[in-house]
Assembly symmetry: C2
Homo-oligomer: 333 residues x 2
């Protein structure tokens, strides 16, 4: 087997330089890079996954299954998972979109071209998930929890995060509130809605079903939902959206309706994606500990790969309310 | 070989139902789904990429290499490519991040687990690109153009798109303008800057180098660039940003500086990503024909896979200025 030492010798450079070239670092002079690439070719170096897999029984490659999503939260989750995998010296393959494309993941599981799978937007009954269970392939669910499924799962504490929002509204004098939901049946959606209702109950409040607007997870739905809520006989003075993308839609809708946020209307999202803190949104939201969640996901998966019989764990990371300009945290009391 | 007909017979359902289960469609009753999944297992059905590849010499799987990017343009490009691949009955694998993760793509090229590669954020000298060239693997570059490289390339006409922005500014009386750039050396950045300067020249104008602020492709850089430009002795009355993300940063910065857009300042971006039309941004920008670009990319790649000796093509798709509230298109004449 050819090592990077052979390549370094051939190119007359250090092993560190070879490594930098392989990592496509910009700290290598073009002439040096060319010399290393030539040396790589001369020694016939082609990093061979199969050969390595035969040797170690491992591919050091992890597959991720993610639906075709427009919510900017998912690229951020992907970035965090990519970083965590890279920190653990693992390579990553992504299968985007559910449905037929998922079969690529199924094949990889059966073909042993990956060591394990991270499911991010999976639903109960998903083909790839069923296959992973049937094939006893190591896998972890992140940001989705399926009750009763015996496997490792990682999520933020959606229930408590949303509960804190309801209490925050109530404690600041709001007694007519609205909720903008996405698709029912998705755990993040359902847990955040339940948590919000529980928080209202803590404060002796209830919410009418017409004050809860259900749709999809899009900016357009957020805008339409705002219009619906404002058409109620008693419009809400504070709206909780189960994710930030919906909240941006509500903010856009509020602008079109000539509503002043937060004077006329409070808006709170969930996720704390990067653009929530942009000046134009300045959105109060519930921050998910994405890096911690990604790190734990990779850690659990590697532990599962090492020991398939260990007990499954469900980790819930606490979320934290981040107050910004779309609400006013001055006490009313 | 087991076919979906065997599975359909085993489950007592139609082939269409088997297909729906494999596609994870929601239009299948849970009991039916369970019966089909059982039948799939009974006939030992495991969609096997290797067997299919042996039979056809093709994997029907295309790899995409994309850097770890925060610009929301890239998830949109990915969505468009995913759709185009799906329309062409191709599966997709994504290698996210450049550097070490790119080796996964290199291995897939050598291991023939994919038929071809689409490079989206590649730079000259990238390991995976060098390997694809050396291995004579079919590949296409999209949204990046590398001059002098003999291969299929697809991009929007960045030069002409940016040129139109400069002329639009000049023709509406702006004679002090600014440009917010990202990283020099990236073709999108360089072509858009050159095109803008050419458009000014068309109108008999020039731009001082201090009116061009270079940095990275982030919202934060957009904000900082706005502050820099406004600190000039003669601050610009119109700013062109080489992408929408930078323009959002400039809009945020303008808000913080108490500037009224468009009364005090015109802002134009490039890309027309979905959130540009959100009420809070309402950004004038240059629209890329993303779906057409993605379709052409997949078409060129499949043609290349079928005939490796065909002449390389570079396709440039015209871009179009989309006027919104961040500029005022009332003629000044």
């Amino acid at each position: 087997m050819v090592t990077s030492r052979d390549v370094a010798r051939g190119a007359g450079v250090s092993q560190a330089t070879v490594s930098r070239v392989l990592q496509n670092s910009t700290h290598v002079r073009p002439e040096t890079r060319a010399r290393v690439l030539t040396a790589l070719k001369e020694v016939g170096y082609t990093p061979n996954a199969h050969a390595r897999a035969m040797r170690t029984g491992r591919t050091s490659t992890i597959g991720i299954v993610m639906g075709r999503v427009t919510n900017p939260f998912y690229p951020e989750l992907l970035g965090a998972l990519g970083q965590a995998l890279s920190d653990a010296s693992q390579r990553m393959i992504l299968w985007l979109s559910e449905g037929p494309a998922e079969l690529g993941a199924v094949e990889a599981i059966h073909g042993h071209t990956i060591d394990g799978v991270i499911f991010t937007t999976v639903r109960e009954g998903s083909v790839a998930l069923e296959e992973a269970i049937a094939a006893k392939a190591p896998f972890v669910l992140v940001n989705r929890v399926i009750e009763g499924l015996r496997c490792d799962q990682v999520a933020s504490d959606n229930f408590e995060g949303a509960r804190a929002v309801a209490r925050y509204f109530a404690q600041h004098g709001h007694d007519s509130v609205g909720v903008v939901c996405g698709v029912p049946g998705i755990s993040t959606n359902d847990e955040r809605l339940s948590g919000f209702i529980a928080g209202l109950k803590d404060e002796g409040q209830t919410i009418k079903s017409r004050n809860i607007v259900t749709g999809d997870f899009t900016h357009a739905h957020g805008m339409r939902a705002l219009a619906k809520l404002m058409a109620l006989k008693v419009p809400p003075t504070a709206i909780f959206c189960v994710n930030d993308l919906l909240a941006f839609g509500v903010l856009s809708g509020a602008g079109l309706h000539g509503l002043n946020v937060p004077a006329d209307l409070w808006v709170v999202g969930y996720d704390d994606i990067a653009m929530s803190s942009w000046h134009c949104h300045d959105l109060s939201t519930v921050k998910q500990r994405l890096d911690d969640m990604a790190g734990a996901t990779v850690e659990l998966l590697l532990a599962r790969i090492a020991d398939r019989d260990r007990n499954p764990t469900t980790l819930r990371f606490p979320s934290q309310l981040a107050i910004r300009g779309s609400t006013d945290n001055k006490p009313t009391g």
